[in-house]
Symmetry: C2
Subunit: 652 residues, 2 copies
């Protein structure tokens, strides 16, 4: 084990990984095969392609008209026409070529042979034919309207180079030169083995404590796009012999084998041990980077094994940086690099010295240029994968980047770069309205009310949804917009949502928060910054005052006060699943989860909109819809209502 | 017919085409179907996707360590440790959750359940365990190292929107939320019918006057990339009943049918007539554009027919502008636009007023910025398809754009954008050297010697290959570089090539050009500007002087003097195929085509290189190779030799 430990301590740099692999085994094409032209798109040519023919294969007319010797029509104009003898007609595809000499002409259609020694074609509109006589009303320069055999591609000319990717356009050139098949590099076979006791495949039933495997299908899809041959294997439990057995089988059937996840402990003890049996075995164990640090690379003969971390963002980052380049090289794709841009950081970023960090960010185009916004949350957040526009890269020597500094961003080629960013508190009615008005052109990020206000202030969000109660004034949102010093925004009054205590119906109804304390029921709290948390704390302070004790003392008596979740829905879910007895959530979710409900208050959900964003037609369209919301529009949303305030605007 | 003629006279504008189609039939998705997740990549979601579960589905640990109630460790430091009672262990995937209360702790590994009401996890490195006691050396804030159920994605949250393209990254989110299948829009079925008597499929034997179909495979490949279902049908001859029959069959089996080519006459008379039978029939006949002018659009019920022009560049332009957008809309892809840039025109461009022209161009990055170079040649040139970087767009009101003006360029998404441009005279030895040193990273354009010199002068070419003889000084290339006023270049002396008269061996040897004239043999000439043409004209002038007549008189006596081809190879090909009796070409090609050869001269083939381009490593590598050419390197190239001059540099 010492040697392994030693390896694990020698983390390698991001730029060393491929070099180290190449020092054992060159990353070069695995071989070649001949494939039909129509199946060659996306593959890489393994040989130069030389034209089998001249193109065009014969000297052809570029217009409908009459083939002539240009020397016969020197000095011919409208007022000085000349007549030649018609000695034949050639339509396209016709091969019986009449003879032509000075003083004669042959009728030709576009694409037809131009009979030697004719050297030009006069367009039909400059001629008049009657019987075997054709009169010409203009001259032609030699070569005019004639496409000479081999003038485009000569037989033996290179049509495409070894190493070229076959595209639909290249297919056109290859077909034109008569090719039916081409030689391309062989596809890499990539075996994918998810590991970990907690893993289930989509469609399977999830037990408490288990999670769906999201990485295998992502890697499978990436490999398909690369033109490789991926295969997903049965998941391996955290059991060294099983993992070893699965790896051995995958090694026989593939060129590259990828194992995913298992816990870091699992990585240490199981995958790691299984890979150690191989020859030459593990060559890299850990990279000086985040989040892909736990990467393991092993070799078995010329087979390559990658042990990828299981958290979605960590896994994806290692796929981008290592798996895709490796498979590309094995399939003969020339050095491909991920596109990068430099843009201005909107918020400061910290980095661990000596580590290269890849931080998922959103890019937003502002008048002042492209702005980079780091996305909140850890590498376990799968939602980031469909949100992020790229990775901001913090180099090993960059410990701290202040807001306003330029940072390199590796672009996510699959980013949708949506036109509208709506960031803030999750609300099912807003989601419904967005869906019917904007759909796929919007990015909806749920980070809670205060997160939303900060996002509008910093400029990332076009619109923030917020439901923050100011206990002092009993007013929603406006006091917060002021106290946060947010300007250049308008607030649009939204609708009212009824919230209250939720509990399982089979238990007896819970009437008040004090009852929760007195009965010692387990409570699930909301995250600080959420409107609901403000309401909960206000209720507890009132109750504490009533009891004549400090609110902190009362909070300590509330079992689960420190157990916080981020959304109304999560509260309802945790109560419904029996993990906690009581929480505060919207009536809408109480009904959705079949829970009992005791009303506490109606809260107001407003939209705060950046003035700059009002220019965007889609933002305008959404706001119009919200302003025009009527009772009947929200009937299918129990616990919601609109009032006279709905749609009013306040400017800041 | 009158009505048809009338339609044909009313050409429509480029921007009207889709609008006119939509006025008959909305271009909206054809339907939806449910597909397995792994097969959904590249398809478009036909419904919003809502999460089936909370993600993470349970509250989990983000590190290996001990789950605690953070309130138990308030104020704990290294020098003020606190010990809690170990009441259980949870590894990942384990579902038997021990109960925990204040004063207790549970060991957890990354990804394991955090037992309620524990609200934090202390990393193992800050603890010391012995027996059922665990000592803690730091405090934790609540929520620290804990990933709360539903905190990332709440059950019922929108994971992906209707109208979104499924990417490998989206697959990851969809899998994480437990989806096994997704609803996507149906694929469009696209039937492809090439027409024209001259058309053969790749692999078939080509008769004189016939040509390979290059468009069908290109369109097939494009449709595949779009995720559509293309099918290539048997080619239809220029026969109205056959075309009609093929169209009817394709209409039954597809949503969109594309006919390609036939001559413009064929288009008028055959495809056109066949489409007229349909209901509502032809709705567009001709567009005010180049080169896609002959586009025909017809409808039959809700089936769409496109008649595309047959010349490769014309066909491709209509595919980009019309076919791809139409099929995209039918498959639910949101408005996709071809990427466009504005760049500086290096050469002037003319345009026909009232017409929008799409001119294939090469983009070259210079210190001074991006430069746009129009590619020479007509829309029949298939080689342009794999060369061009995009279409320069000349609007209807732009009759003339001078060099230096900015022009819009629609980017070719499949352009290789090669690093090195070598433009000039085609030479098989240079091609061989390029192939072994640079391969796919070079763009080799054969436009003849003078074309090459102009390309270096204008800045498009890094290197030009030239073999221009100055009759006055009997020197190669250098006089031309001077007289063209080309500076900031170096000339590298290349090698010598033997050229002479080529003729079919079964005929009697041809010893001199005068013999060609006296025997009345048919001659094939080279294009003006080629080094060989200069040689031919010099020989004819000497001969004319000998005969005491003007050279123009002598040229008139040379049968086929005005019949010009662009390459040595084309000359050899035309003589070998019997179209002409004699020409002047390299010995190399005489041997390749099995022709008789009478030596006339050794010409020198040099490289003229832009000094700016010397910075490029690949240019440097190529030049090194050429300079170091030895006799043995070129043994397999008969008719080539190197001498003391080879590799010498001349600066301008």
């Amino acid at each position: 084990m010492t040697s392994e430990r030693k390896i694990y301590r020698n983390l390698v740099g991001v730029d060393e990984v491929l070099k180290i692999i190449e020092s054992y085994r060159r990353l070069e094409p695995l071989g070649e095969e001949e494939v039909p032209l129509e199946e060659s798109v996306g593959r890489v040519l393994s040989r130069n392609v030389y034209s089998l023919i001249d193109y065009p294969p014969y000297t052809r007319a570029l217009v409908d008209g009459y083939a002539v010797l240009s020397s016969d029509l020197v000095g011919v104009y409208e007022d000085r026409p000349k007549t030649l003898k018609l000695v034949g007609k050639l339509s396209t595809g016709e091969t019986r070529v009449p003879h032509i000499s000075s003083g004669e002409t042959v009728e030709v259609s576009t694409g037809a042979i131009v009979p030697y020694p004719a050297d030009a074609v006069v367009p039909v509109e400059y001629t008049h034919a009657s019987g075997d006589k054709v009169t010409f009303y203009r001259s032609v320069s030699h070569g005019e309207n004639v496409d000479t055999a081999g003038s485009d591609i000569a037989r033996g000319e290179v049509v495409a180079w070894k190493g070229e990717l076959v595209t639909p356009l290249l297919v056109s050139s290859l077909a034109a030169t008569g090719l039916k098949t081409v030689w391309v590099y062989r596809q890499a076979r990539v075996g994918i083995i998810p590991t970990g006791n907690e893993i289930k495949y989509p469609g399977e039933r999830l037990e408490y404590g288990q999670i769906y495997d999201s990485n295998s299908h992502m890697i499978y899809a990436f490999m398909k796009l690369l033109g490789a041959k991926p295969k997903i294997y049965e998941r391996a439990l955290d059991d060294p012999s099983q993992i070893g057995e699965y790896i051995d089988r995958a090694l026989e059937e593939n060129d590259v084998v990828v194992t995913i996840g298992g816990t870091s402990a699992g990585l240490e003890d199981y995958t790691y041990r299984a890979m150690s049996r191989l020859k030459p075995g593990i060559i890299i164990h850990g990279v000086r980077e985040k989040p892909g640090r736990p990467l393991v690379v092993a070799l078995h003969g010329d087979k390559i094994l990658l042990g990828l971390p299981g958290f979605p963002m960590s896994c994806m980052q290692t796929v981008y940086l290592y798996l895709i380049p490796i498979v590309s090289k094995l399939q003969g794709l020339r050095e491909h690099s991920i596109e990068a841009v430099r843009a201005e950081l909107a918020l400061p970023l910290r980095n661990e010295p000596g580590i290269r960090s890849f931080i998922p960010v959103i890019l937003v185009q502002k008048y002042s240029g492209m702005k980079v916004f780091p996305l909140p949350g850890h590498s376990g957040r799968v939602s980031l994968i469909s949100l992020f526009d790229g990775f901001a890269v913090l180099r090993e020597d960059q410990e701290y980047l202040p807001a306003g500094s330029m940072v390199e961003v590796l672009l996510n080629p699959f980013s949708r770069r949506p036109e509208v960013n709506i960031i803030g508190s999750h609300d099912p009615l807003l989601q419904e309205v967005v869906s019917e008005t904007l759909g796929a052109s919007v990015r909806l990020v749920n980070v809670g009310s205060t997160g939303g206000l900060q996002a509008v202030k910093s400029g990332i969000a076009d619109i923030a949804g917020s439901h923050l109660l100011d206990p002092a004034t009993n007013e929603y949102n406006i006091p917060y917009v002021k106290s946060y010093g947010i300007d250049k925004v308008i607030l649009i009054r939204g609708y009212l949502r009824e919230q209250g205590l939720v509990y399982r119906k089979e238990k007896e109804p819970v009437q008040s928060i004090s009852e929760v304390i007195d009965k010692g029921l387990s409570f699930v709290n909301r995250n600080p910054g959420s409107g609901t948390r403000v309401l909960i704390d206000k209720l507890l302070e009132d109750e504490a005052a009533r009891r004549g004790i400090t609110s902190s003392k009362l909070k300590a008596q509330l079992k689960g006060y420190t157990f916080e979740v981020k959304t109304h829905e999560a509260v309802a879910h945790i109560v419904a699943s029996g993990v906690a007895d009581v929480g505060v959530a919207l009536r809408y979710f109480a009904i959705k989860y079949g829970l009992g409900f005791t009303s506490l208050a109606w809260e107001r959900y407003d939209l705060i909109v950046s003035k700059e964003s009002l220019q965007k037609p889609k933002v305008a369209r959404l706001l119009e819809r919200v302003k025009s919301l009527k009772g009947e529009d929200i009937e299918k949303f129990p616990g919601y209502r609109v009032d006279g305030e709905t749609g009013k605007e306040y400017e800041f």
